[in-house]
């Protein structure tokens, strides 16, 4: 590994996927340049570095791109394995961590988006589904301080960026996370005590503003 590692993150402040990478980089104590993308006007660099999906986040390490948030997180964990391991070393526990990160990917963002982007019956159904997902996640957390056990890890990292969306879900979905899911809220507050998390997450209000903009464009207002 070269002494002067060049790290560039094609970024988007309100994106939970980009937040995951920001947290991972912070956990490892890495210096990097963050470049904010405008998704309505994607940079030539983004289109060159992620021609397949044209999405953020993209981590460019010494000129080479890595795409897809959890692939990037695993890459960071493998390359900078000297501190703050994000995945456990045991194969079964790794599989367990990947399973729950995959569950979060398949459910929270798409269902959450459905909730804030739609109206009427579709919105109600999405709210029901999202609440079900939070119940399942709370069940998985149990009495552990973190999803991974005693320390912040892969699953925690995969989920905590969605804390920035809680205000949006609550306001548009008309429910309270702290009332319905106190354990999850406790867990989120615990994660927020970590500097790597608090510095990486987008403010809940800013996410709400961004979502309102998208709703306007979609005609959901």
């Amino acid at each position: 590994m070269a002494e002067a590692d060049q790290l560039l993150l094609l970024d988007l402040l309100p994106s939970p996927f980009a937040a995951r990478v920001r947290i991972a980089l912070a956990e490892k104590g890495l210096n990097y340049e963050s470049r904010e993308e405008d998704l309505s006007n994607k940079s030539p660099l983004l289109l060159k570095m992620n021609p397949v999906h044209k999405q953020i986040p993209v981590l460019i390490h010494n000129g080479r791109p890595i795409c897809e948030s959890m692939v990037i997180v695993q890459y960071i964990d493998q390359v900078w394995n000297h501190k703050s391991p994000l995945l456990p070393s045991d194969p079964y526990r790794r599989a367990h961590a990947r399973f729950w990160a995959d569950y979060i990917d398949k459910k929270i963002y798409p269902i959450g988006r459905m909730l804030w982007a739609s109206k009427g019956e579709v919105k109600e159904a999405s709210k029901k589904d999202l609440i079900e997902c939070f119940k399942i996640l709370e069940g998985e957390l149990g009495d552990k301080p973190y999803f991974g056990g005693e320390s912040f890890g892969y699953i925690d990292l995969a989920l905590i960026p969605f804390y920035s969306f809680f205000y949006t879900f609550e306001t548009l979905g008309n429910f309270s996370v702290v009332v319905e899911f106190p354990k999850l809220m406790d867990w989120a507050q615990r994660c927020l005590l970590k500097e790597s998390v608090s510095k990486s997450l987008c403010d809940q209000r800013n996410v709400y503003e961004a979502v309102l903009e998208i709703r306007k464009k979609l005609g959901a207002e």
Partner: protein
């Protein structure tokens, strides 16, 4: 790692199940194959995958691993002394995972649209399906396998869909070989491997299964 007890809950036409069969065969792991009836899921399946209630589920010493890509990675890590599927270099690993994710996002969903829809929706699916396969062909380049000189993770992830190509072609009325000859060459090369040969069902059987499925779902 001893091959103490390995069980696979599976469904013969599932490309996701095939991935796990191939990985187990590559590592020479003996296991018990349990065919699930997806219309009447076993108590064991519901117990071992309560979250998704889907196959494949790999059960190793009583502990379940669900989701095909996760199971294949688990197999690669738990039996790391033989036939490595993922490269050890972090960048190459990330590339392999990216393309496996691409296959998951595109190939299955588009393939399903090809046999389950008609008209404009089907045409759009066919177009995007071929584009996706061409993208993978480009990624393969002149290499014998996606893994390079040897069969690897992306090969395991993609090759099961080869058993579904005939069904896609019949229902979609097009030829995948005409559009992606290099990919078909690659698929045939993979099919010469015993691990793949033993894991993929006959493509006419798959076609028959899709016919039955369409009838059951009330799709023309």
């Amino acid at each position: 790692m001893a091959n103490a007890e390995v069980v696979l809950l599976d469904f013969w036409p599932s490309p996701f199940g095939m991935r796990v069969r191939i990985a187990l065969a590559e590592k020479g792991i003996k296991y018990e194959y349990k065919e699930e009836d997806l219309q009447n899921k076993s108590a064991l399946l519901l117990q071992m995958n309560p979250v998704h209630k889907k196959i494949p589920v790999l059960i190793h010493n009583g502990k379940p691993v669900a989701e095909s890509l996760i199971a294949v990675q688990y197999i690669d890590e738990a039996w790391k002394d033989k036939a490595p599927l993922l490269p050890s270099d972090p960048y190459l690993r990330a590339q392999a995972k990216f393309w496996a994710d691409f296959v998951d996002k595109k190939i299955y969903a588009l393939g399903r649209k090809i046999w389950a829809t008609k008209g404009e929706e089907q045409e759009a699916a066919k177009k995007e399906f071929i584009e996706s396969l061409k993208l993978m062909e480009g990624k393969l380049g002149e290499k014998p396998y996606f893994g390079g000189e040897s069969f690897g993770y992306v090969d395991v992830v993609l090759v099961p869909f080869y058993s579904w190509f005939y069904a896609y072609e019949v229902f979609g009325n097009f030829s995948i070989e005409a559009e992606c000859p290099k990919l078909i060459q690659w698929a045939k090369r993979c099919s010469e491997k015993e691990s793949v040969l033993k894991s993929l069902p006959d493509h006419k059987k798959v076609h028959g299964f899709v016919l039955e499925l369409k009838k059951r779902l009330g799709i023309e």
